[in-house]
Amino acid sequence: MRIPMTEYLIIDLDTERWNCKVCDHDLGDARGNYKEGTLVYDRDPTEIHQSILDPEKYEFTFAPDPTFCRILEFYCPGCGTQLETEYVPPGHPPTVDMLWDIDSLRETWIKRGTKPEVVINYGPGEEAVADFTPALGSYNTHNHSPHSFS
């Protein structure tokens, strides 16, 4: 069974791997840090948040100060999707932002007895529809391992 954990990251409970939702690229051990499976780029923040006031004239221009702030961009090595960004001081180690208890996750979903692609959405409201079927649907409808229940 595959569980969407973020907009672009899936945990495959059968293989216990992180996968890219867009291209299915393997991003590493689901019990660990998905960032280890990504490509990282140290982005000068002024390239993203560009100066609106003239940087030749002024110190404060709407653009972050690159000596204070960097943007780490985490890409999927398979398709180049930007999976996550992180704003850090220069040289600060990236944060391990998610660590999940895989055994508990599996147990919870077996207990729920529902299909993630059917029951997971973006919350209340008619617009909040999430369509994970392309990434999960065909996979979750087949029994791939004893862990799959559907």
Partner: protein, 779 residues
């Protein structure tokens, strides 16, 4: 010292003087307790009350009431009628309140159990109060109830503002009144309004310039200002004498008393109908039900840990970087929020916050952004453990100033709001949408001085309520929609304000191009405002926020955060004279004025957003912008048509459309070239793959063992250490230190003017040396 701040509150046990160092017999302990009760020098904030955010256990009377049977339908009806009564009180405050904050909805009304647990808050207003207003009531019950010189009687009302006794911050003033039946307190009702002016070292109640707790203005511990229905004139006079706006102090005291008394009348009629016992049981059952439901909802979240670090770039006097660390762990029905790694308190700057205020903003995230359907009870946070190091800037000690404590407490909000997108993403049961970070700075002008009517005032513009909303998973965030602390707050009618204060917003609510949290769905954008005063002998402005060098909110799932926001000023000209002479010069925007510098003789400057009270001469311009909410998802997935629409409306520049969003369009018609766009986006993805480095290789080149040498950095460097890094200013100048919080020296920063003068003196000596000029100076 690390504390798990979720211990049950005990009433009537340990006093503020602490515990004895060696075991005593029961009799000895009783003597000591009696002695301490009778002779305590100062009844300061009580840690046993202030560290606890957990509900009290059932009282014997509550137990008795509940044992007689609880009908859930009846409880629901009582709750709905209470909600109606509280909303009525809220509307009275909003309609009649003199404080600008009251007029925009920055207030709350609440009902509590006898022990002080918040049972229900008004549906409108600031939800954060549900995590904070139990503190003053517990204090009143513990220290004043049986105190012969105080006591609690029907018709009494207690006022307080000091966050050390439980408040969001010191601009908020409460009116707290008991409800009696049969000589016994059975509940409490309160109204709390953001009053603004509080006699601090700067006008408006949120001084960015405070350097000691005594610069923060009024420090009202809870005291009785209404006695048996009568407002005490002696105490009122003292308060009026202590603030810049005596009219406001009186007016809103009366408004709050009126609102609370109206709520009490409604409660009386409920009690008349259902009986005291059913009413008391309903209050208690509500609190307990919410606690149980919160536990259930936590247990539905996946077990694991989500971490989110924030870095704040200003003390409001100088630029630094100070960390707000947060790890949220869920296991079963337990949730733990661990703030260790957060930077130390800075003892002569205004950014520190007591932990209770940080918790109040965490509650704001929980009850407004996680589970907005729950009754607003103290118990919504009761099952969550919070681990924090005392003497950090988010858990400051008693000696730290906290004039602009929102800097730390709003980071508490962002920590929980941001983390929740990851915590709840895979959960089928959601009560709120998956959302990128909300903007978290109160970018507005505080002001003060003499008005055109001759009144002395101090307060702020409602534009702090124009924060950009975070992008949702399925749509863009809303522009300037509402502040994180109050979903239904208003940005007010500027024209009405101008009747009362001697300045105009020359530009108001104009979107700043490119000031957007970029993403598949973009964050709600912020607007700019330009103000200038005229026709008053004394007027000035302040700004009190951070985020001019380091974006104050991030993006979500590949989206980007907000831009940074500067303060820009043009001094030495009178814009009103310029406009009077040539009205075509009224085409104003911060970008145009600052880049073109069209006014001859003007001094054009920018700075960070910590402006201490600055005297504004006639027609001098002050310019700021609201920030945006964070973007959601990869920018290359944004609908190209949405990009073209933003371009056409002038919301983004051609450069952003191309370089960030990868869209190609016809500049005449704004029609998207779909094929060229697909090619450009494909190339952009390939470029990412080419420039990105594998994680481990990247770390080897990027990660440093300590912060850049010249950066004033405070907090843990990385998340795998218990030590905090800080710069300590010694007799020999700045020294970087690294130690656990208990071993760090006291952190104070030098006067920035002295630092500047010293640098200028060094430069003068350098030039004298260079040019061979000999100057004899005496010290």
């Amino acid at each position: 010292m690390t504390l798990t701040a979720n211990e049950p509150s005990t009433s009537g046990t340990s006093g503020p003087a602490g515990e004895a160092s060696q075991p005593l017999t029961a009799q000895e302990q009783q003597w000591v307790d009696q002695f301490m009760d009778e002779t305590t020098l100062f009844l300061g904030p009580d840690p046993a009350i202030m560290r606890s955010h957990q509900i009290t256990s059932r009282s014997a009377y509550e137990e008795e009431c509940i044992s007689k049977g609880v009908d859930p339908i009846k409880v629901d009806r009582i709750r709905k009628r209470l909600a109606g009564a509280l909303d009525e009180g809220y509307e009275m405050c909003e309609a009649m309140g003199a404080a600008p904050g009251a007029k925009w909805g920055d207030l709350t009304t609440a009902i509590y159990t006898a022990e002080g647990d918040v049972t229900y808050l008004s549906c409108h207003g600031v939800i954060a109060f549900s995590a904070i207003l139990h503190h003053p009531i517990r204090y009143i019950m513990k220290y004043w109830k049986d105190e012969p010189t105080v006591g609690i009687n029907p018709g009494d009302g207690f006022i307080h503002n000091d966050a050390w006794y439980g408040n969001v911050h010191n601009t908020d003033q409460s009116m707290i009144m008991p409800i009696f039946r049969g000589g016994k307190i059975i509940a409490w009702v309160a109204a709390t309004i953001h009053e603004g002016e509080n006699g601090a070292c700067e006008p408006g109640g949120m001084p960015s310039g405070s350097e000691t707790p005594f610069d923060d203005g009024l420090r009202m511990s809870p005291f009785k200002i209404v006695e048996k229905g009568e407002l005490r004139r002696d105490l009122l006079t003292f308060l009026q004498h202590s603030v810049r706006d005596p009219k406001l102090q009186l007016a809103d005291l009366k408004v709050k008393i009126g609102a609370v008394q109206r709520i009490q009348e409604r409660v009386d009629s409920i009690i008349d109908e259902v009986g005291v016992e059913t009413f008391v049981a309903a209050l208690r059952v509500t609190v307990e039900d919410v606690e149980q439901e919160v536990k259930r909802r936590i247990s539905e979240l996946p077990d694991g840990t989500v971490s989110f670090n924030q870095f704040m770039d200003s003390t409001l006097k100088e630029n630094i970087l100070i960390k707000f660390a947060c790890k949220v762990t869920v296991k079963g029905d337990k949730m733990t929020v661990d703030l260790r790694g957060t930077g130390p308190e800075i003892l002569n700057r205004a950014i520190n916050s007591p932990l209770c205020s940080v918790k109040s903003m965490m509650m704001q995230a929980i009850l407004a952004f996680w589970w907005p359907d729950l009754p607003r009870c103290t118990s919504a946070m009761s099952p969550i453990d919070i681990i924090s190091d005392e003497h950090t800037w988010a858990d400051a000690g008693y000696d730290a100033p906290m004039g602009q404590s929102l800097q730390a407490s709003f980071r508490g909000f962002s920590a929980l709001q941001t983390a929740f997108a990851k915590m709840q993403f895979s959960n089928p049961e959601k009560f709120s949408n998956v959302l990128a970070p909300w903007f978290n700075q109160i970018n507005t002008f505080l002001w003060g001085g003499l008005t055109q009517h001759g009144d002395q005032v101090g307060n702020l513009c409602a534009d702090l309520n124009g924060m950009g909303g975070g992008a949702k998973a399925f749509r863009d965030g809303e522009d300037a929609v509402s502040p994180l602390f109050c979903a239904m707050a208003d940005t007010a009618e500027q024209e009405v304000m101008e009747e009362e204060v001697p300045f105009m917003q020359l530009v108001s609510k104009r979107i700043v191009r490119d000031n957007q949290g970029f993403g598949k769905n973009s964050g709600g954008m912020g607007y700019e405002m330009i103000v200038a005063a005229e026709g008053t002998p004394m007027w000035g402005f302040m700004t009190v926020t951070s985020g001019s060098k380091f974006s104050s909110v991030t993006g979500m799932f590949g989206g980007y955060g907000c831009s940074t926001t500067p303060l820009a000023m043009v001094k030495g000209i009178n814009i009103y004279d310029v406009i009077r002479k040539d009205s075509s010069k009224f085409d104003l925007s911060m970008e145009r004025i600052m880049n073109e510098q069209p006014y001859e003789g003007g001094k054009y400057t920018t700075s960070h957003m910590g402006l201490q009270f600055d005297v504004a001469k006639d027609g001098e311009m002050y310019m700021i912008a609201q920030g945006s909410g964070g973007g959601y998802g990869d920018v290359l997935e944004r609908d190209p048509e949405a990009v073209a629409k933003d371009l056409e409306l002038g919301r983004i520049s051609p450069k952003v459309a191309t370089s960030i969003y990868g869209v190609v369009w016809d500049p005449e018609t704004f029609v998207v070239d779909q094929e060229a766009t697909a090619r450009l986006r494909h190339d952009s993805r390939q470029a990412r793959i080419a420039r990105g480095k594998p994680y481990k290789e990247f770390l080897e080149g990027y990660v440093k063992t300590e912060p850049p040498k010249d950066l004033l950095y405070y907090g843990s460097w990385g998340d795998d250490t218990e030590e905090l890094t800080a710069t300590h200013f010694t007799n020999n100048g700045p020294e970087r230190v690294k130690a656990t919080i208990d071993k760090l020296p006291l952190i104070m920063l030098p006067d920035r003017r002295e630092v500047k003068i010293s640098a200028l003196e060094d430069r003068i000596r350098e030039l004298e040396l260079k040019h061979g000029e000999v100057v004899h100076r005496k010290s």
